[in-house]
């Protein structure tokens, strides 16, 4: 995933390249999630958000503390929205797979699946709004600038 970075460079530029890679992948993932907010795309975006947040925490010293904290906070808000959707996906998957599937009568399972699907639809709405806002304001580009990554 981070193969293009050179281990011999100092940590500051190394971490910068790691973050560049994550931000670039995240930009792509945001677009995918907006085009099709299915289980896979939501999961990919969520994992990228986690990776980015962790990288900012780990390499925090190499960047402006204020910028890093602010981005982490924004990412945290996004993660909460993603977690709501992901929670429904995980529960649906658990419900559909054995041995759980056979522990529930078919009619009741269908009811639960409907309730979960409805809850998911409700959770996707604010997420989509947030992602559109991120796209409109070119958030990831601004984050790069705040972190003073080489553009």
């Amino acid at each position: 995933m981070y193969e293009q970075v050179n281990p011999e460079q100092n940590l500051e530029s190394y971490a910068g390249q790691i973050l560049e890679t994550l931000l670039r992948d995240m930009a792509f993932s945001v677009r995918k999630a907006l085009e099709k907010p299915d289980q896979e795309n939501i999961h990919d975006l969520r994992v990228l958000g986690l990776r980015l947040r962790h990288a900012l925490r780990l390499f925090g010293k190499a960047f402006s503390r204020k910028a890093s904290r602010k981005i982490r906070r924004r990412l945290g808000e996004l993660q909460d929205l993603l977690a709501e959707v992901r929670g429904c996906d995980v529960t649906l998957e658990v419900l559909r797979n054995e041995p759980i599937a056979s522990a529930v009568a078919a009619r009741q399972r269908a009811r639960l699946e409907n309730a979960l699907a409805q809850r998911r639809r409700r959770a996707v709405r604010p997420l989509e709004l947030r992602l559109k806002k991120m796209q409109r304001s070119d958030s990831l580009q601004r984050w790069r600038q705040r972190l003073a990554l080489s553009a």
């Binding site: 981070y2 011999e8 100092n10 940590l11 560049e20 529960t91 658990v94 041995p99 009741q108």
Partner: protein
């Protein structure tokens, strides 16, 4: 543990990763044989995930030899993921099923509980088979403390992170974990 921004990444990796590894091992040791509840399992899973992500950030300093270790942590993390999936599903079903309906779905909750227990056994056996052994663990930590010899780096690709200028496809593999 502080990283040194002006020192090479390799040196920083060899400083931080053994510490993170030791933290993870200590947390697992103290939790694995006891009554592991959902909250603890969630915390351990986060710890495993952070350790793995940190290893991946420094993977270019270690090379392909790191992959076997990454796989061990990945396997454990996935097993813990299945365990926490069951407990988070249980919580969500509780919300979706009000009082009486919940009582009627006793079988569902029992099946989830059983699944959690099975998954906990999987986590325990993975831990015992792969990382509980003190020699394996020493080897692991020693490996993290001594990254492989440097190799020439490929040219750095031009990178653009704007949402308005996106790559045509996902640049690194298809899925993330």
């Amino acid at each position: 543990m502080k990283l040194r921004a002006n020192k090479p990444a390799r040196e920083n990796g060899s400083r931080i990763l053994p510490r993170l590894g030791q933290q993870f091992f200590t947390a697992m040791d103290s939790a694995i044989d006891g009554e592991l509840d959902a909250e603890q399992a969630h915390r351990l899973r986060l710890l495993a995930k952070r350790f793995r992500y940190s290893m991946e950030y420094f993977r270019p300093c270690y090379g392909e030899t790191m992959d076997a270790y990454l796989n061990h942590i990945g396997d454990l993390q996935r097993a813990m993921g299945k365990l926490t999936d069951c407990s988070s599903s249980r919580a969500l079903f509780r919300e979706l099923l009000p009082g009486r309906a919940r009582q009627r779905q006793k079988k569902l909750f029992e099946a989830l509980k059983r699944r959690e227990e099975e998954q906990l056994d999987v986590v325990r056996s993975l831990w015992r088979d792969q990382l509980a052994n003190s020699l394996t663990r020493k080897r692991f930590l020693r490996y993290l403390a001594r990254p492989a010899a440097p190799r020439p780096a490929p040219p750095v690709a031009e990178i653009g992170g704007s949402l308005r200028a996106l790559p045509a496809q996902l640049p690194h593999g298809q899925h993330y974990h």
